[in-house]
């Protein structure tokens, strides 16, 4: 690791201007984390036009701050309202809200803030040490490796992320197709432009992102908002007691590691790691029955893990140039706008950006710790702001923002068009995330594939015979076939043993305590009624109660996988 570059990065971060952007970023992040509705990806999408007016390092520092700040903010609503501000804070709801009901909301928030800080800091140290090494290895990558890696990235994001995998893959493929709109860089031929001059140069990433994420989410939220008012629980003392700290120290340590490791995987990220960390603590605990009834570890583990993961998901972006999730795709796009192409050469060519971003996270997390413990009352007050009041403001920021990029009204129409697509996708159960991510990676995949084919003089076996690209493609095939194999196996097993599956049902329910059902798990027979699949099937199809579809019921849960 280049120590002087690392220290220069720090010098850059502590410049008052950059400190200010860092503070603004984490503040925006916390606020949107607290407010249910707009997530970090949507917020960054909406604010992308700003990157045209400020300098690259400051812009990235601010946008990164929004991302990890949102992880802190999401906790507050989970604990106080039983309403997760972010998907990665959903598991925090179980024990966080239980603690709040016992008048220990402050303890939950305090532990979450400390866990978040520790998890993020450990993860940044890992990032600091690991990122230059990974970038060094990736320097040897040629076009075939890039084509294979980017393809693997799209697949991983589609299959590991939440939601139906098939739908995510379709959305990803449509994103790849969208990326081909415009002039073909090899032959100069126009593709999918329909003789429109505005489309000749392709579709601007910012317009796509602002439309699919920004406008799509704004429209979706308009519909969801039928005046359900939530009254936040009282926040008492925010400082956790020594006993609480001692009790959750193990959870914080393990959460940090789980978060760091899963965050590096494309598509893994904050949501998955929070669930895995919670499961880990519950499994290890000598008293698992406390979970869901206000166990501090149940708050500490997922909150630590989601922050650690949010931090380590920067590794693939900064070292290989592959965004690991939708938010990273936003940052990837922002870097491209700024004329910085993320990849292994980033650390050498733009050490200011590379170390500036990483080191800003040390400071940003410290700011968040300071903000979230003493100022928690202030953020609770933000909860009283009605979403209806913020909606026109976000709408105006979006429209004016997209207009200012090229002073083009056409861009507004295009963005609204993508917004409608994003809204309809959400309604039909398609996550727009993989689409935006694939759109970003689309031109890389196409151009590196074609460049590789030129290298191999048209022989596609070249991809397989090169060791690194061959390995990556093998991983691609395995990962693509794994879900198919698993579902076949599951079908065969469930057909073979009906008895076993009914035992499984009883068990699922015995732990289903946290909601409002008793944990006692009195008997297996009654439990089946509470199972989500039944309730959903009834809601979905109305009168028909289909009996022989345990498989379909299982599918209901893949939203969160």
């Amino acid at each position: 690791m280049d120590l002087t570059a690392f220290l220069d990065g720090f010098a850059l971060v502590v410049e008052p201007k950059n400190l200010l952007y860092c503070l603004v970023g984490v503040l925006i992040g916390m606020v949107i984390g607290v407010l249910p509705g707009l997530g970090p990806a949507a917020t960054i999408a909406i604010l992308l036009p700003i990157t045209y007016t400020i300098d690259p390092v400051s812009a990235i520092i601010m946008l990164a701050g929004i991302y990890y700040g949102a992880q802190y903010g999401g906790t507050i609503t989970s604990v106080l309202l039983r309403l997760p501000g972010e998907a990665s804070s959903v598991v925090t709801v179980f024990d966080g809200f239980a603690l709040a009901k016992q008048g220990k909301a402050g303890t939950a928030l305090g532990i979450a803030a400390i866990g978040s800080f520790v998890g993020a800091t450990i993860s940044i140290i890992g990032l600091t040490l690991l990122a230059p090494v990974v970038a060094g290895i990736a320097l040897d990558f040629g076009p075939p490796e890039y084509a294979a890696l980017a393809l693997l990235g799209v697949l991983l994001v589609a299959t590991i992320g939440s939601g139906n995998k098939l739908k995510a893959l379709i959305a990803g493929a449509v994103g790849l197709l969208l990326a081909t709109v415009g002039r073909d860089s090899f032959s100069g031929a126009s593709r999918f432009t329909f003789d429109s001059l505005q489309l000749a140069d392709g579709i601007d990433f910012v317009v796509v992102a602002m439309g699919l994420f920004g406008v799509g989410e704004i429209l979706y939220n308009l519909e969801q908002r039928h005046g359900k008012r939530h009254v936040p629980a009282k926040v008492g003392n925010v400082w956790p007691s020594r006993k609480d700290l001692k009790q959750s120290s193990g959870a914080i340590g393990r959460g940090s590691i789980i978060g760091f490791v899963l965050g590096v995987l494309p598509g893994g990220g904050a949501v998955l790691s929070s669930i895995v960390a919670y499961a880990m603590e519950k499994r290890r605990s000598k008293t698992p029955e406390r979970f869901g009834r206000g166990a501090v570890e149940g708050v500490a583990a997922p909150e630590t893990a989601n922050n650690a993961a949010a931090t380590s998901s920067f590794i693939p972006l900064l070292t290989i140039g592959l965004p690991a999730n939708a938010t990273m795709a936003m940052l990837f796009g922002a870097l491209l706008i700024l004329g910085v192409s993320p990849g292994p050469q980033l650390v050498d060519e733009h050490p200011d950006v590379f170390w500036g971003v990483i080191n800003s996270m040390y400071i940003g997390n410290l700011l968040l710790l300071i903000l979230s413990i003493p100022l928690v009352g202030l953020f609770v007050r933000i909860l009283r702001v009605r979403p209806a009041i913020l909606a026109p403001i976000t709408a105006l920021i979006t429209i004016l923002g997209v207009y200012t990029i090229n002073n083009s009204v056409f861009d507004i129409f295009l963005m609204v068009g993508f917004g409608i697509v994003g809204y309809l996708m959400k309604k039909a159960g398609f996550d727009p995330g993989p689409m935006v991510l694939a759109f970003v990676l689309g031109s890389i995949i196409e151009s590196s594939t074609r460049r590789s084919l030129l290298m191999f003089s048209g022989d596609p076996t070249g991809f397989v015979t090169r060791p690194i690209s061959g390995t990556i493609l093998a991983a691609f095939v395995v990962l693509a076939l794994l879900p198919v194999a698993r579902s076949l196996l599951k079908r065969r097993r469930s057909a073979a043993a009906g008895v076993e599956s009914s035992a499984g049902v009883a068990e699922v329910d015995a732990h289903r305590g946290p909601g409002n059902v008793g944990i006692a798990g009195d008997d297996g027979g009654r439990d089946v009624v509470v199972l989500p699949p039944d309730a959903l099937d009834v809601a979905g199809v109305g009168q028909r109660v289909r009996v022989p579809e345990p498989g379909a019921g299982k599918h209901d849960h893949h939203r969160t996988e």
């Binding site: 081909t180 031929a189 499994r283 026109p392 009204v409």
Partner: protein, 177 residues
């Protein structure tokens, strides 16, 4: 013992995931039925087939010398194929949301966006911005008239100074000092 902890561990994870799904489910509107899934898959097939036809016209070329249509053609075929699988497999999915009466709200939202884009070059941004916030606050948000007017005026004024003086971005505007 070690062998028995493994499947059990996975059970806990699956169970928590189910719980999380349930937690998210509670806030969601009614699920759309099979028609939604079918339409979704058919749209996918249409995009795939349509784009494949166009891409074929652009020229596929050969592997030695791929034409401009080669890559989009491959991607389009993948889209169509995956969507066809979805059409068969995905009928029982429950991840869609039904359109309800409140689905009118996003439609109004889109109309105001479009109206804004049409008016912006003609009248400057102040009037459309004011109209948009009044409609969103009063009609879509159900705020009181007093709140609507105060918030709208303050918002537009804030944007005016932020964009024209703070960020020095030239927006078409009516009022000039």
């Amino acid at each position: 013992m070690a062998e028995s902890t493994h499947p059990h561990a996975r059970d806990i994870l699956a169970e928590i995931e189910a719980e999380v799904a349930h937690e998210l489910e509670e806030e969601r509107p009614p699920v759309g039925g099979r028609a939604y899934q079918t339409v979704g898959a058919l749209v996918g097939i249409a995009i795939g087939v349509g784009a494949a036809v166009l891409a074929y016209d652009y020229g596929l070329g050969s592997l030695h010398k791929p034409g401009p249509g080669m890559w989009p053609f491959i991607v389009s075929v993948v889209i169509a194929a995956l969507s066809a699988v979805l059409l068969v497999v995905g009928r029982g999915l429950t991840d869609s949301e039904a359109f309800t009466r409140s689905s009118v709200l996003p439609v109004v939202g889109v109309v105001t966006f479009v109206a804004f884009a049409v008016l912006l070059p003609v009248t400057g941004f102040e009037i459309p911005a004011l109209l948009l916030s009044v409609i969103w606050l009063k009609l879509l948000g159900g705020e009181s008239w007093r709140n609507t007017i105060v918030i709208s005026v303050v918002t537009v004024a804030a944007f005016y100074f932020l964009f024209l003086y703070g960020l020095r971005i030239p927006l078409p505007h009516l009022i000039a000092f």
